[in-house]
Amino acid sequence: MTAVLDAQGLGKRYRKQWALRDCTLQVPAGRVVGLVGPNGAGKTTLLHLAVGLLQPSAGSVGVLGARPAENPAQLGRVGFVAQETPLYATLSVADHLKLGEWLNPRWDARAAERRIDQLGLDRKQRAGKLSGGQRAQLALTLAIAKRPELLVLDEPVASLDPLARHEFLQHLMEAVADDGVSVVLSSHLVSDLERVCDYLIVLVGSRVQVAGDVDELLACHHRLIGPRRDAAHLPSDQQVIEASHTDRQSTLLVRSDGPILDPAWTVEQIGLEDLVIAYMRRAG
């Protein structure tokens, strides 16, 4: 099966500063991928490389088995909603739908009209006068109605209030359910992604810290609480992501593919947020 996103040693450098480096990833199709990391971690750079807005300085990136943006057909296979959901402020909602129709041969006009009706948007309204939530929804409509195989969204909910955030993600999930499109969306908040993602990439300090299926990641990460001991004495298949110690007690977050057999530990399941934060701390 072709990976929707296949990066090999991918890197992007601005003058002497690496915005992204040594990124090797294979994201399978049919997933909703969350790309998490603090601001400035390189999320936007990775997404722009994937949609062909940027050219790599090192390595290579393939999207749906081809080079990003190499021709109109490839452009048509990837929908993109950029950060802050840019739209033409002086053009109306209806103009934006026409724009989508003019520029995309696979445009699904009926689906687009239906979504606008659902959202209750005034077609004559200029995009510059829309609320943040409406802008995001219109941008999403444009990206979905071109019927892409992969939908890439850069911080789509960052500037939305909680209600708009909820509605946006709900619409996104409906589209995924209807069309079976693969999705990559980024956020600096895990909580935004927790409900919708089944695949996670944690990007910190321009490097990928961990990537994988959410259930698998949660299954192989554990919090161990027990009498104080040195992390170096753990079995070799247990990798410590984070460790904290009091005088008598140690709390470890470990990655282990096998079960934890040592009876001295109390083993706790961890949440996605704990996992992401542990990797962020380790990288920081």
Partner: protein, 357 residues
């Protein structure tokens, strides 16, 4: 993509078209009277030519006509304005609003996106400027016929086809400025300054060398030659070029048959009395300024004798572009500016494919 390009440009196009229509109506309404005035003027000139005194023959242009005449001169700024208001924001505004990320991720390559934008707004720029130039050329034709100075500043670049070349260039320069600077206002300012700077430099440094000028020797005309002196130095003769309507005269020199200039000492030794009886030299404190003095009748006779004596071995050498070359210059100038515009457009394509993000 063409439809989107037009959708984004149509409001500006409509405004420009409206302005052009208003100008056209005003020009069409005022022109008949203008023709009448110049007819009267031409007849009066023919009539007075027999008496030899045409000093009282003038044209009474109305205030409106004078204002409209200025419009012709203002045409010099139109290509720069087109570049600043249509060219510079074309891409810079997309960068500022981030909408290039929307446009470049639709199923249309950047190359096509840019090609459509350049084609639509570029054509709009050239057409609008061309129509304005056409109207100005038509309206002011009676004035231009009377002035017989088609190569003159405020005339050559503001009539016929040259403005088309300037418009294409101004637009392309604006697009490049917007592409590189990425912010609308600084790009607009850069375009205005760049456009006018390049126009001035071209007019004075390049245009005179587009074709090598023609040289023509004419006998010194005792009636048409004046003299003067610099800072009470030896007197110098100033030949008046003969009447050559619509020619572009670079210079007039007094030379002998070998091409050597007329030495000042020779004037002084041939005509030792030249300048006496003028009632003193230039007023003190006039520095290095050249002071030309209208001579009384006696002095004028002495000057004519002097010119006749010098004219025995010296003649006047004219360097000029004949009036017949007007259209060659128009085409050259237009072609060069259009060529530069195409080169700038090519640069845009190269930049947007590989370097713009």
């Amino acid at each position: 993509m063409m439809r989107l390009g037009w959708r984004q440009f149509r409001l500006q196009a409509a405004v420009a078209f409206g302005v052009l229509v208003v100008i056209a109506v005003v020009l069409a309404m005022t022109r008949p009277h203008l023709i009448y005035l110049y007819d009267v003027f031409a007849k009066a000139q023919t009539a007075c030519a027999s008496t030899g005194d045409c000093r009282d023959v003038t044209i009474n242009l109305s205030q409106v006509d004078k204002l409209l005449e200025l419009l012709g001169t203002a045409l010099v700024a139109v290509p720069a304005l087109v570049g600043a208001f249509w060219g510079a924001p074309l891409i810079a505004r997309e960068f500022e609003a981030g909408t290039h990320r929307l446009a470049w991720t639709q199923s249309v390559t950047r190359t096509r996106w840019l090609a459509s934008k350049l084609a639509i707004v570029g054509a709009g720029s050239v057409i609008a400027t061309g129509l304005l130039s056409l109207m100005v050329t038509w309206w002011s034709s009676p004035i231009d016929r009377a002035h017989t100075n088609r190569f003159g500043s405020g005339m050559f670049g503001e009539r016929n086809i040259a403005p088309l070349g300037y418009a294409a260039f101004g637009f392309a320069l604006g697009v490049v400025a917007g592409l590189l600077i990425r912010r609308t206002l600084p790009a607009m300012a850069t375009t205005l300054v760049g456009c006018l700077g390049i126009r001035i430099a071209f007019t004075y440094l390049v245009r005179p060398h587009l074709l090598s000028p023609v040289h023509k020797a004419v006998a010194l005309d005792p009636d048409g030659t004046g003299f003067g002196s610099t800072n009470s130095g030896p007197p110098t003769l100033f030949p008046n070029p003969p009447s050559m309507p619509n020619a572009w005269i670079y210079s007039t020199h007094i030379v002998d048959n070998a091409g050597h200039g007329l030495p000042a000492q020779l004037v002084a030794s041939t005509c030792p009395t030249l300048g006496t009886g003028l009632g003193g030299g230039p007023p003190p404190g006039s520095g290095h300024a050249v002071v030309r003095i209208q001579a009384p009748a006696g002095v004028q006779n002495a000057l004519q004798e002097c010119v006749a004596k010098i004219g025995a071995s010296y003649h006047e050498l004219l360097t000029y572009q004949p009036a017949s070359r007007y259209w060659v210059f128009q085409w050259y100038e237009t072609a060069i500016y259009v060529g530069a515009a195409l080169a700038l457009a090519g640069f845009c394509f190269w930049w947007i494919r590989g370097r713009a993000t």
